[in-house]
Symmetry: C2
Subunit: 356 residues, 2 copies
């Protein structure tokens, strides 16, 4: 999730305008293109370049152009109760389904106090935090989780059966920035292993296994092996629960049946399942009282005694908010190779990629 | 959470009868005593002796007799919506508040699809899994979480600000045993550190920190230090979210304000906050279809290729179900010292502890 070092700086506005035009050109509606673009640019602004246009734009475009993912949205609510909804996305863009599910969760939570919604037959939905954070302006706590292609074995096994299965929780604050927790349930992302392999650096213990399920600190061995879940068997349990909720409960793909959903799969519809929840704070406590209490709790953590050599104690989401402020001011760095790809794509679609 | 090695074997029925009488003798109503006893004996049966009568009975009794925890229940629903409820437990026994909150969650989820309830001014509620599992007979997915006294520092800090803040998720299956995930958000429980210190054995890396927040593998140093969260900063984020939901949102104690809730605090009411949720499977998929799909997913995991030297791949809760079958057949082992404590307590209350 770390930001990309180096690269050419572009303003968020320039990237936003161009990205939106690209999506519209390949058949995405104006509204859907705006939504999809915002989710990707927001990821870049927060420094989560893995979920920004940096890594996702060309992949999404290719998937749409090859017909693996539909440009046109076709969302159908197949089951609905006062506090739940299941939306069949019929292979629409993941962000379009997610936005609908989160909007329904917020509307329902306003009436009933809490809501839990889900999408099936969907696609990669971008950064989990984006959906959890959608609850914040409504005085609600937001939650989202999704399954993903298998990269982790069950404890004791050596077949990849679970994705990095991330989840995000957003909690509103008052004067303080909101708490935004967004984590993959693996110790490190595959990208970290790739980086260590490129630099011939050993991994830290506990990051990965070889193909036979034996722990390894050799990055090259780990590349052909398996990622480790957080907390060993505990993380395995969390991943399994996420997969059963997002995949099995929604009637989507899960476990070994989950095909890749990015550049690794340009053939089959992905059939991702994702879940969303909103808790209306006012159902438990008046909002001003709650946000003041959260402010106090955050202050207590941030000003608590630091370990030797530590300059600052961060709370979840704080690094990303700092990054957003910096990137809004200084621009978003796009690596040179990616800029070349964008220029080529822009030529092909007759939508020139803007100058830096 | 590991079972106690050795000890004298007693049938669950004998322990149950005696425990219930003890609680009634010190002023707990017949129904509340039955409920409280069941939650403790069920923990013992599942091998979670840390949450069974082994560790909890004498502590609960002392807390009630000293007036730190009320024998009589006084639950008041202070806020309620179609899918939420906040219950003020007024220092009632934790299990009594939890049972009410989980019952309300199940009833509400039957109407609206999902429900999220919470208790405030409560006490230690036993094993989190007990409450999540209450949803299973209703064809629902259950969830529970609670905060706890501080034992973990925020990442980069060295002041204990978070408890082991456990959560549990239970998912119904068909022919297979249900999935029951119940985990503390620390890498190991404090009990493991204590055991290693007693045996002068080094800890595994990543288990604990010294008092200055520096990682340590020395068990004696760790005893005066801090537990490590699962997945480093990721587990810190999860603990914080649990504490903010269970503690802050419910108006209960949280973070550094949380006094001990067992033998470590015989003075102040604990003021624990806990949350509960139920998701009605039928709101998303017909129950028979869902349980069949869960069976298939579980089978795929359990029969997947095993790592070298591994005899069996377990799914969450399976070890505890195996243990329950064994202990129902062979009895529950109670360590000799604990048996002595029970005999003494029995004499004092004129309720003789049964022969093995």
């Amino acid at each position: 999730m770390a930001g990309v070092d180096g690269g050419i700086m572009f303003t968020a506005d320039k990237l936003r305008g161009w990205t939106q035009e690209v999506f519209q050109k390949i058949g995405v509606s104006r509204d859907d293109a705006a939504l999809l673009t915002d989710s990707l640019i927001e990821a870049n602004l927060r420094g989560v370049d893995t979920h920004g246009i940096t890594r996702m734009l060309c992949v999404y475009v290719e998937r749409i152009r090859k017909g693996v993912m539909s440009a046109k949205s076709n969302l159908v609510v197949v089951r609905e109760k006062a506090s739940t909804a299941l939306i069949d996305c019929n292979n629409s863009i993941g962000q379009v389904g997610a936005a609908c599910a989160m909007r329904m969760a917020i509307e329902k939570a306003r009436q009933t106090g809490v809501a839990f919604t889900a999408v099936t037959h969907s696609n990669h939905y971008g950064m989990a935090a984006y959906w959890a954070m959608a609850a914040l302006p409504h005085g609600m706590i937001g939650f989202s989780s999704t399954n993903a292609p298998a990269a982790v074995a069950p404890t004791g096994g050596c077949t990849a059966m679970f994705g990095t299965n991330p989840f995000a929780i957003a909690i509103p604050a008052g004067r303080e920035l909101p708490v935004v927790l967004d984590l993959a349930t693996t110790v490190v992302a595959r990208g970290r292993i790739v980086l260590h392999a490129k630099q011939d650096k050993p991994l830290e213990p506990g990051w990965a296994f070889d193909g036979r399920g034996i722990p390894t600190t050799d990055a090259h061995t780990a590349m052909k092996g398996l990622l480790a879940p957080i907390g060993g068997y505990k993380g395995y349990g969390i991943m399994l629960a996420v997969d059963f909720l997002c995949g099995v409960l929604t009637g989507s793909n899960y476990g070994i049946h989950f095909p890749g959903f990015l550049a690794d799969n340009m053939i089959d519809p992905t059939d991702v399942g994702s879940v969303f929840a909103a808790v209306n704070v006012e159902s438990f406590m008046d909002l001003p009282e709650f946000t003041a209490a959260i402010d106090k709790a955050l202050q207590e953590i941030k000003t608590s005694t630091r370990a030797e050599g530590v300059k600052r104690i961060y709370v979840p989401g704080e690094i990303e908010f700092d990054m957003k402020a910096e990137r809004l001011a200084k621009g978003i760095p796009i690596p040179e190779q990616v800029v070349k790809d964008f220029i080529a794509l822009g030529r092909e679609l007759a939508i020139p990629f803007p100058e830096a």
